[in-house]
């Protein structure tokens, strides 16, 4: 007993702030599109290296809803076209806000009446629908002492009856579709749906398989998408708090381009 009390005192505070800044060097966070990506044929080189068709070499866009952050495009172009920064703050919002070169995510903040209804409390029911469990583990990590989601009044609950909304991971396997829809139906209105990770946005690496629905969007009305494979817990916090209009540090996406 005395051992555990001492350990507690010695450990001190471990929770991280939201403005923790960049993560360690090899981290692949917010991609920065270089000048060479927009002019010339570097976009094509990047698109060829991409296994999930996230890059459109014609429109010169990069869809983070499909990106699995493997870094192959960066390796293929030597960082000239696409370079992954260490910033965990990724764009969030409706599906179109995840496309680099599209509208900025600020437009997708929850409407004021919903925000005032939720006040300082949001309770979510998590449903894993055919993912690999990576996103589930990061959602779970939000509850540990490091990220401590509860300090923002957000928590995960066991029953959909206690929830204000759903947090969904995975491409929605056909075998989970019914259970997902039933869980959604069991939540009282108004309810929100948050879809996290590349699979939930587009099917991700499983896109096109006979056994998946290629994302949550085709099954439920999604209010908030957060990209990543899986999204870092700080990416999740950034997206959820941004959606609730509570994020102290907005991601100035236009400023993330190379000069």
């Amino acid at each position: 007993m005395i051992e555990s009390i001492l350990k507690r005192v010695r450990t001190g505070k471990v929770t991280v702030g939201l403005t923790a800044g960049d993560l360690p060097a090899p981290f692949r966070g917010m991609p920065v599109l270089g000048e060479a990506f927009r002019v010339g044929n570097v976009a094509e080189t990047c698109a060829k290296a991409c296994a999930t068709d996230a890059i459109d070499p014609e429109k010169k866009t990069m869809d983070l809803g499909r990106c699995v952050f493997c870094g192959l495009c960066e390796e293929a172009c030597g960082g000239e076209g696409i370079r992954f920064s260490q910033d965990p703050r990724l764009p969030w919002g409706k599906r179109e806000h995840l496309v680099l070169g599209g509208p900025v995510p600020g437009d997708a903040t929850a409407p004021p009446d919903l925000r005032s209804l939720l006040g300082r409390s949001l309770h979510l029911r998590e449903v894993s629908a055919g993912g690999c469990n990576g996103c589930d583990l990061e959602a779970q990590a939000l509850g540990n002492p490091i990220f401590d989601l509860q300090r923002f009044g957000i928590d995960f609950v066991a029953s959909p009856r206690h929830a204000d909304g759903l947090l969904v991971t995975g491409p929605v396997s056909k075998n989970m579709r019914e259970a997902l829809v039933k869980t959604y139906d069991a939540i009282a209105e108004p309810r929100i749906v948050i879809a996290i990770g590349a699979c939930a946005a587009s099917g991700g690496i499983f896109r096109g398989s006979y056994a998946v629905e290629n994302g949550v969007g085709g099954v439920l009305p999604v209010d908030l998408f957060i990209p990543g494979c899986p999204p870092h817990p700080l990416t999740l916090l950034h997206g959820i708090l941004g959606f609730l209009g509570k994020n102290p540090v907005a991601a100035g996406r236009s400023s993330r381009r190379d000069p």
Binding site: S4, K7, R8, T11, V14, P24, A25, P26, F27, R28, A49, A51, T52, V68, F69, C70, G71, L72, E75, F84, E126, V127, S128, A129, G130, G131, C132, N133, G134, D136, L137, E138, A139, Q140, A141, G143, N144, P145, I146, F156, A158, G170, P171, S173, K174, N175, M176, A179, T183, C199, G204, I205, G208, S209, Y210, A211, V212, C229, P230, H232
Partner: protein, 503 residues
């Protein structure tokens, strides 16, 4: 390489049924163990069963193949109970029915799928019989009642359905129905042995991204003839051990949660995060994604110098040691874990369970010793073997394995160069039909990847056997005669992947 083996399929003819049966029987009674059993349709309407085994000596792989009729074959579960789930899976994917199999419920497909859909069976093959519906085992007796749990569980966890038949609080039978996470991964592998397949393997089970992608990368390297550089292999093994530490920490935290020991839950939750952050510093991702490339490791890997990593590991080790001994010595913890959820050594051996859970039930198997990758060849991590088979044993095995990993890591990192290289030399691969098998000891147990490669070097059939797929039936045995309120604890002590089992 002793963790990968290539069999030439060019010359050999399939075995008759009896020798094939004898091959499988040998994996139950002899020194070799079953690694995988899977089907293939090499040409429309012609079906082969491939069995791969090995492990009686380091790097020993053996295999057998048999042709079966397009409809059915006689089950092998009577001579090799370890084929139980493999045969159910083969039926679901190919429509080949194992006659006399003790359980013919579908493993992958639920109501709502077309009854004649067998996704890996070609359209040209003779039409199979319709798949039968799912029937739960009915336990009869006075006062027997059923409790249904899932697919959506109370916590943040993957979906699966558990059906308990209880007498009072005591579990008489637990039936596990999975398939909710089925996403058809094996159907996405055929084709070019390129980088896309490694990305796919990272998503077989997200908590084992390093284990699966390493097994996959070595397999692709054997196909394309580009073996990774020894320093890249060292980093792969280092990442694999850190993945093991992160998951073992997470599980000890989860076990603490399930018995209401909040000290352990908070600290191990935090230490798991610390281990994941080390993976991030090496690979750029908390789960080690981006570590592997065909022929080596990623350009950004390793993102940390070996000395710095060793320093961080020694700090982590001290904390794990401190929190772990506090946890495992606490009388209230021991009282809840000892004798709970016992998996008997006899059961573990007969049903050929694998990995850490099997080592807690006296089964002395470890792919790092039996199929050593280059970094393990000289000295694999120290052996950890217990035989009580209860939740306490599975918790202790985790703790002791972390100690062994920390010991081993300091040795491998001491000689590591800061960078790995992408393979420079390529060996022209043989131009015949081949079976390539790759084995790696993930944190749960042995991961087996097998591929049938055609004469032009393309993948024709890819088989993944996650340790979860092997061990799920073990949970049903472990909870028998326990009280239902101990189920979460028993379940967590195995912590099997739903995604890895459902593929």
């Amino acid at each position: 390489m002793r963790c990968v083996h290539t069999f030439d399929l060019g010359a050999s003819a399939p075995l008759a049924e009896e020798p094939f049966r004898a091959f499988l029987r040998e994996t139950t009674t002899g020194g070799d163990r079953l690694l995988a059993l899977f089907a293939e349709e090499p040409s429309s309407g012609r079906f082969l069963l491939h069995a791969v085994a090995g492990g009686s000596a380091p790097g020993r792989f053996v295999r057998a193949v048999m042709e079966v009729s397009p409809r059915s074959y006689r089950t092998f579960t009577d001579v090799c109970p370890g084929t139980h789930w493999f045969e159910r899976e083969i039926y679901d994917l190919f429509g080949l029915a194992p006659q006399g199999h003790p359980e013919s419920n579908p493993l992958r497909f639920h109501e709502g799928w077309p009854k004649k859909l067998f996704p890996l069976r070609s359209a040209g093959a003779p039409a199979p019989d319709a798949r039968r519906g799912y029937r739960f085992l009915l336990v009869r007796g006075e006062g027997i009642h059923e409790v249904a749990v899932g697919p959506v569980h109370a916590g943040i966890i993957e979906p699966g359905h558990f059906r308990f038949s209880c007498a009072g609080e005591t579990i008489q039978n637990l039936e596990i129905r999975l398939g909710y996470q089925h996403k058809g991964i094996e159907s996405l592998f055929p084709g070019d042995p390129g980088m896309g397949k490694i990305l796919l393997s990272e998503s077989i089970s997200g908590d084992t991204a390093v284990g699966h992608s390493t097994a996959c990368a070595r397999l692709l390297e054997a196909i394309t003839g580009k073996p990774a550089d020894p320093s890249a292999e060292r980093w792969r093994a280092a990442a694999l051990e850190i993945e093991r530490v992160s998951n073992h920490c997470g599980d000890l935290g989860g076990l603490s949660t399930d018995i209401g020991y909040l000290f352990g839950a908070a600290h191990f939750g935090r230490l798991r995060g610390a281990a994941l952050n080390l993976l991030l510093k090496i690979t750029g991702n908390r789960f080690g994604r981006g570590l592997n490339r065909v022929g080596g490791i990623g350009l950004r890997v390793p993102g940390i110098a070996p000395e710095d990593l060793m320093e961080e590991l020694s700090r982590l080790r001290a904390e794990v040691e401190n929190v772990g001994t506090t946890l495992l010595d606490a009388p209230s913890v021991v009282a809840r874990m000892e004798g709970t959820g016992r998996l008997l050594p006899h059961t573990a051996k007969t049903l050929q369970f694998v990995g850490m859970a099997a080592r807690a039930s006296g089964r002395d198997i470890d792919a790092r010793r039996d199929f050593p990758s280059p970094a393990y060849v000289e000295s694999p991590p120290a052996k950890v073997l217990l035989d009580t088979g209860d939740v306490m044993a599975r918790a202790r095995v985790r703790f002791l394995e972390m100690r062994a990993s920390f010991d081993w890591l300091s040795g491998v990192l001491a000689g590591a160069t800061p960078t790995g290289a992408i393979a420079a030399e390529t060996i022209a691969p043989v131009a015949t039909r081949r079976l390539v098998v790759s084995v790696e000891e993930g944190w749960r147990g042995e991961i087996v990847h097998a591929a049938i490669v055609d004469a032009v070097g393309r993948i024709a059939r890819y088989k993944v056997a996650d340790p979860s797929f092997r061990n799920w039936p073990g949970l049903s045995f472990a909870v028998q005669k326990n009280v239902i309120s101990d189920f979460p604890l028993c379940n967590k002590s195995f912590n099997l992947s739903y995604s890895g089992a459902d593929l």
